[in-house]
Symmetry: C2
Subunit: 674 residues, 2 copies
C-alpha cells in the first residue's frame, strides 16, 4: 500500500486556485463515446468539481456564462484551440485527452489564461507521440533492483514480484503526465527478464489494471516485450520472425492484448542489444524483426517502438577500429525504407549512451524513409542519479534545436530543419516518430528522489510538446506551479541552482565530450579507467602524451563520415570541432590548445575546480532560501546537495589527479592535486 501523503509535484491544490475560483463548464456528451474517451471526460468532470470545491468557484452549464468552457468538438485538428473573448475562455478539442491537456494549459497559465486580452490560439504538440519508458522490473532484480537505473525508490507499478494492489498512485502519476501533455507510457523494462516477459501473457489482467489506472488521464499503455517470447513463453522451437508459426503466435498474442486493453498502445523492443534476443539469431535483420511485430499489431493500430541502441558489448579494447559510436548508424541506416509504417525506430540522442555531452546521433538524420523517434533519458543515470541537481532542459533543448543539415534543408516556413522537426515529421522524410524518454519516477515521496529532479520530468513533457520553448522559461513554469506564490528570492535561487546545472555537472565530470569515466556497473561517481579495458566500447585511450578518441575519416574510425555536411567536416578537424566535443572526435596531446586559449590539461584543471566552486555556491543558495519551502523539501534538497558537493569534490580530485599523474603537467594555478 502507498503512503498517500506523497508530494503533489506541479499540481498542488494551490496551483488550481485561480481556475478553481471561477465558473467552469464542460460541454461534452459522453454517451456513445468509446470507453477510453468516456473515462477521460469523467476525469474532466472530476477535475472541475475538485478545483471549484476547493477554491470557491462553481461548475456550471455551458450556457450559464462560464468563465471557462471546455467543449468537445468534431475536428480533425490535433491539440486544442483556446479562444478568449469578452473575458471568457473557451477551449475546444476533438478528443477528450486533448481537451484535458487544454484544461491543464489554462491551469498552468492561470491568470494569464483567464484574464488577458482576447485571443484565438491553436495549440498542438510538435508530434502526436510523446512517451515515457519505464525500466521497471516486476521482480526486484538482484543487481538492478526494482527499477533499472531508477533513483527514486521502487516502482509505482510493481512491488516485490507483483503488480501493486493499490494503483491509486499510478493514476496520480497519470494526472501529472496529463498536465505536461504526455499520453503514452511503457510500463516495464526493455531488458525483459523472465518474470516480466509474462506481463504479455499470464499477467495480462494485471496489465489491464495498470492501463485502467492510467486511462482516466488519457495515458495509453505500452509494453516492452522480449523478441524471444514465442520460444520462452510460447514453447515454439524458434522465434524466427519469418517463421509462420512465430508470426501467428505474435498475432494471437497481440489480439489478446487488445482484447484485454482496447486502447493499448503497442510494444517496445530492445533486440540484439546487450544480450537481449533479436532477429540476428535467426539470420534476420532488424527490419525483418520489427516488421513481423508490426504486422501483428497493425490490425489494432498498434505501434512498434524498436530501439536503435544496438552495438557490440563484447568488444575487444585492443581493437581501435571498432567504434561503438558508429554502431547504430551502421546497423540501421542501410535499412532505411524497409520498416513498416507502424514501426518507430527509437534513437538515443547521442551515439553512445546518455552521457553528459555527446554529439547528436547521426542516425536521426540518416533515415528519411523511416519513422524515427528521439530518445532522451529523464532518469539521471549518467548525470548524477538524482543525487545531483542537474536540470536537463537545456541539454535536451540543444539537441532538439540542433540542425543536422546546413541551412538549405528547411521545413515549412523556411527555417532550417532541426532534430525536433525530424522527430515531428517536418524533416526531409516527413515521417514522425515522436519522442520517447526513460522515466525518472518511483515510489519515492517526491516521485523523483531529488525534489528538483521533478523539473526534468516536467521539462520533458513541455519541451516535447513544444521544442521551441526556452528551458529556463519551462523551469519558471515548474517553479510557479510547484511553489505557488514563490517569492522572487526563492525563484531566483532555484534558477541560480538549476539553470546552468547541466554545465556545472559537465565541468566536474568527464571533460570535453570524452564520456564515461564512471564506476562500472552502477555508473555513479568517477573511475577514469573504469571502462578503459572492458568490452563495452567506451574508451578514452589516455596515455602519458594525450587523450581522446580519433573518430575522423582521415586517421580514425570514420565516424565523422556518418554525418551530413557541414558536420562531417566540422567534426573532422580539431580546428573546427567544438571544444566541448574535442575528445569525442580527436585524440590530442595534453598541450593541445582549445579555442578557449587554454591547453586541454589546464582546461581540465580549471573546469574541475570551477565545477566544485559552483556546487558550493548551489549549497549556499539553497541554505539561504530553504526556509521558504516546506520542511520536507528543504531537508531532502539540502541532503542531496551535500552529497553532490562531496561527489563533485571526489570527481574533481580523481580527474585532476589522473590527468596530473598521466601528463606530468602542473596546474598553472598551483591548486592541490594528489
Amino acid at each position: 500500500m502507498f503512503d498517500n501523503d506523497f508530494h503533489p509535484a506541479w499540481l498542488p491544490d494551490t496551483a488550481l486556485r485561480t481556475v478553481g475560483s471561477r465558473r467552469l463548464a464542460l460541454a461534452a456528451d459522453a454517451a456513445g463515446a468509446p470507453p477510453a474517451d468516456a473515462a477521460v471526460l469523467a476525469t474532466l468532470e472530476t477535475e472541475l468539481g475538485r478545483a471549484t470545491t476547493a477554491h470557491g468557484g462553481a461548475v456550471v452549464g455551458p450556457d450559464d456564462s462560464p468563465d471557462l468552457l471546455l467543449r468537445l468538438t468534431a475536428s480533425s485538428a490535433p491539440g486544442f484551440r483556446l479562444v478568449r473573448h469578452d473575458g471568457r475562455v473557451t477551449v475546444t478539442a476533438a478528443s477528450p485527452t486533448a481537451l484535458l491537456h487544454g484544461y491543464f494549459h489554462v491551469v498552468r497559465l492561470s491568470v494569464a489564461a483567464l484574464d488577458a486580452p482576447s485571443t484565438d490560439e491553436s495549440h498542438a504538440p510538435a508530434s502526436a507521440l510523446r512517451m515515457l519508458d519505464h525500466w521497471d522490473n516486476v521482480d526486484v532484480h538482484p543487481v538492478m533492483g526494482q527499477v533499472e537505473r531508477g533513483y527514486a525508490g521502487g516502482s509505482v507499478f510493481y512491488d516485490a514480484g507483483r503488480v501493486r494492489t493499490d494503483l491509486s498512485r499510478v493514476t496520480a502519476y497519470a494526472r501529472l503526465l496529463a498536465a505536461v501533455g504526455i499520453d503514452r507510457v511503457s510500463i516495464n523494462n526493455v531488458n525483459v527478464h523472465a518474470r516480466e516477459a509474462r506481463l504479455l501473457t499470464d499477467d495480462l489482467p494485471e496489465v489491464a489494471r495498470i492501463a485502467a489506472a492510467l486511462r482516466p488521464y488519457g495515458v495509453r499503455t505500452h509494453l516492452s516485450v522480449s523478441f524471444a517470447a514465442p520460444t520462452t513463453l510460447g514453447g515454439l522451437p524458434t522465434s524466427d520472425p519469418l517463421d509462420p508459426a512465430v508470426r501467428d503466435w505474435w498475432r494471437a498474442a497481440a489480439d489478446k492484448v487488445w482484447t484485454a486493453i482496447p486502447d493499448f498502445g503497442g510494444f517496445v523492443v530492445k533486440a540484439d542489444s546487450e544480450g537481449q534476443p533479436g532477429p540476428f539469431a535467426h539470420g534476420r535483420d532488424h527490419a525483418d524483426g520489427a516488421n513481423m511485430l508490426a504486422a501483428a499489431v497493425a490490425p489494432h493500430e498498434g505501434l512498434i517502438h524498436w530501439r536503435a541502441f544496438v552495438y557490440n558489448h563484447t568488444q575487444d579494447w585492443r581493437d581501435r577500429s571498432t567504434d561503438r559510436a558508429r554502431a547504430a548508424h551502421d546497423h540501421f541506416a542501410p535499412l532505411d525504407g524497409r520498416f513498416a509504417d507502424n514501426v518507430i525506430v527509437q534513437v538515443k540522442h547521442g551515439p553512445m549512451d546518455f552521457q553528459v555531452r555527446e554529439p547528436v546521433s547521426p542516425v536521426l538524420s540518416a533515415m528519411p524513409g523511416t519513422r524515427v523517434a528521439l530518445e532522451l533519458q529523464v532518469t539521471q543515470e549518467y548525470t548524477g542519479q538524482q543525487r545531483h541537481a542537474v536540470y536537463l532542459g537545456p541539454a535536451w533543448s540543444e539537441v532538439l534545436r540542433w540542425q543536422p543539415w546546413d541551412s538549405s534543408t528547411v521545413r515549412d516556413g523556411g527555417t532550417p530543419v532541426t532534430v525536433a522537426d525530424v522527430a515531428s515529421g517536418r524533416g526531409p522524410g516527413r515521417r514522425a516518430g515522436g519522442f520517447a524518454a526513460v522515466a525518472n519516477v518511483g515510489d519515492d515521496r517526491f516521485w523523483t528522489g531529488h525534489p528538483l529532479a521533478q523539473a526534468n520530468l516536467y521539462a520533458y513533457g513541455r519541451l516535447t510538446w513544444d521544442p521551441t520553448l526556452e528551458p529556463t522559461a519551462v523551469l519558471d513554469e515548474w517553479v510557479s506551479l510547484t511553489f505557488p506564490d514563490a517569492p522572487a528570492e526563492l525563484r531566483a535561487a532555484i534558477h541560480a541552482i538549476l539553470d546552468a546545472s547541466w554545465q556545472t555537472y559537465e565541468l566536474y565530470t568527464a571533460p570535453l565530450g570524452v564520456g564515461f569515466m564512471v564506476r562500472p556497473g552502477h555508473h555513479y561517481g568517477p573511475d577514469v579507467d573504469g571502462y578503459e579495458y572492458t568490452p563495452w566500447g567506451t574508451y578514452h585511450f589516455a596515455d602519458r602524451d594525450g587523450i581522446g578518441v580519433d573518430r575522423t575519416r582521415a586517421t580514425g574510425t570514420g565516424y565523422t563520415g556518418q554525418y551530413a555536411a557541414p558536420w562531417r567536416d566540422v567534426y573532422e578537424s580539431p580546428t573546427t570541432c567544438p571544444d566541448e566535443l574535442l575528445l569525442f572526435f580527436h585524440h590530442v596531446p595534453y598541450g593541445h590548445v582549445l579555442h578557449s586559449g587554454k591547453s586541454v590539461v589546464q582546461h581540465v584543471y580549471d573546469t574541475h575546480f570551477e565545477g566544485v566552486e559552483r556546487v558550493a555556491r548551489m549549497v549556499e543558495r539553497w541554505d539561504e532560501v530553504a526556509h521558504l519551502v516546506p520542511d520536507d523539501v528543504a531537508h531532502r534538497v539540502r541532503d542531496r546537495l551535500a552529497e553532490q558537493l562531496r561527489s563533485a569534490v571526489e570527481w574533481r580530485d580523481q580527474i585532476t589527479t589522473y590527468f596530473w599523474r598521466k601528463s606530468g603537467v602542473p596546474d598553472s594555478n598551483g591548486r592541490r592535486i594528489y
Copy 2:
C-alpha cells in the same frame, strides 16, 4: 539432495588397495568412551571393514597376527606412534582421532608403510590446532552468493536458506579432512549476516546435525558469531563486552551450544572489520571483546579465534600517511599479553589480503604473549579463483619457513625460529595458536571447481601438520593418491603444470609485490586502477614517472619499522629489498634497475609475456596427458586451462599497456603492446 557421484578426491577406493588387501585389526574399547571418541572408533571399524571388503583383506582380532594393528593407548603424547617390526605394523595413539590420522598415514604411504624395514616413529602435528574456516552463507547472499569468495558451487552445509537435509557429503568431506589431519572446521562466514547469526540460537539443532556429520571423522565444529548478537539476537540494549548482562547473555548462549554439542570447538570472530560490529562501538578494545567471549566459553574449554584483519576500509585515497599494511600491527601489537589463554589471534599471512605476493605479516612476530594463529587462504580469491591452476603449497611453504628474526632467535634444537614455529608455540613466547585457512570446497562435483585445486586443500592439511615438508613432495603424495598408478608421464605433466604455477600466476598479474590491480568487487581479472581511487587502502600510486608504495621509515608510512631486525632494514632500502617485494615497500621510477639487472618496466613486460607463454605450455602439457585421467577430470581441467590462458592474455595486455601508456618506455623486445 546431493548427487552422490562426486569425485573421490584423494581417497578413491584404489587408494585403499594395499591396506585393504591385508589383515587389519583395531584394539580399542569403545565402552565408556565419550560419545565423540566412540563415534571415531566406530568410523575406524567401518573404514577397516570397507577397505578389506573391497580389496580382499580381512579384519582380524588384535591377537590374530594382523599386518596392521591400530591400538588406542593411554599416553599423553600427541599424534601417533608407528612401530614396524617383523613385517607387522602397529600404530598406537592416545585418542581415536589421532589413531584415525595414523591409519590414513598408513593408507597414504601404502607399501612404504607396510613393507619396509623395521622402524619406531612418532608422528605429531606441528600444532594441535589445524582448522578450516568456511565462508558459507545459509541464505544466498545477493552479491556474495552461497559461499563468499567460493569458487566451487554452493555450500556443502547449506542450500537455499537452510541446513541441508542430507549431510552425507559433509561426512565425506570430514573423511577427506581426516586423511590430511584437519580436525576443526568453522562452518559459517565470518561476515555474519542476519540469517546466519541465528545459527547460534534458533538453529542450534541444525548446527548439531552438522557437528554430528563431521564428528565420525574427528572433526570438531566451530561457529562464526556476530559481536552484536546480544543486541540483534538477544534484544539487549547494548553489546558492550564489559556490560554484565552482555556477559551473561554470551555465557548462557555458550552453555546452550555446548549442551547441544558437547565437543563443540569455539567461536570465530571478525570484529570491527569491514563493517562487522565489534568492541570499538562501546569504547572497548579487541582484548576486552575477545576476553569477554573467552570467559563465556572457558568453562567448556572452548576457543575464541579473533581475527586480526582490522583496518580502515573507508580510507581517503588522497591521504598517503594512512597505510592499511600497518593496521593489524597498530591495532594488535599494543594488546600483546592482554588476551586470555583461550583466545587465539588469527593473523593473515600478509599485511594486506591474500595477494599473490606480500611480505609476511609483522604481527606474527610481534605478540609473544599471545596465542597467534597463521591464517592462509586455500580458496583462490586473489590467485585465480579456481579457474586458474595455481598450486599454493610453495607460497605457504615460503611463509611457514620464513624467519621473522635473525638467526640468533632459535627454537629447541637450535634452528632459527620460523613462522611455523611461532604458530606452533616454538617461538619466543612458546604460545601456540596453530593454523587456520579459508576453505576452498563447495558442492561442486570435484569439491573445488578446478580438479587440480584439490591439491591446495591437501597441501594445507599436510603442510600445517608438518611445515618442513617440501611442497613438491606433498604434491607427489596428492598425485599418487588421487591418480593411483599414475604413469610417470602423467605425474611429470602435473608437476610441470603445478610446481611453479604460483610463480606463473605472479608473472602475469600484479608485479613486484604491488598487489591488487584486480577488478573491484569480484576480484577476478585485471583492472590496474580499479582500487586506485577507492576507500579500500590498496593503492599503487602510479604516475608517468614511477610506481609503488613508500612504506619506509625514512620517507614513507613507516611500515618497515613494524619488523624486527634484520627485516626492518632489509626492507627499508631499495638496494636490499628483494625484487619481488620492491613495489610493496618503495615508490621507484620505471627505470629503476632491479637486482636482476632489468628496469622495472622491462621486468613488467618480460614477466607478463613469459607468464602467458608458461600458461600456453601448461595447456599443451595437459593436452598430452589428458587421456590418462578420467574423462570428467580431463574435460574440466581443459576448460579451466583454456580460461586461464584467456585470462592470462588479458592480464598481460592490460598490465603491459598500462605501464606503456604511463611510462612511454617501449619494450626492448618490441612485442605487441596496445
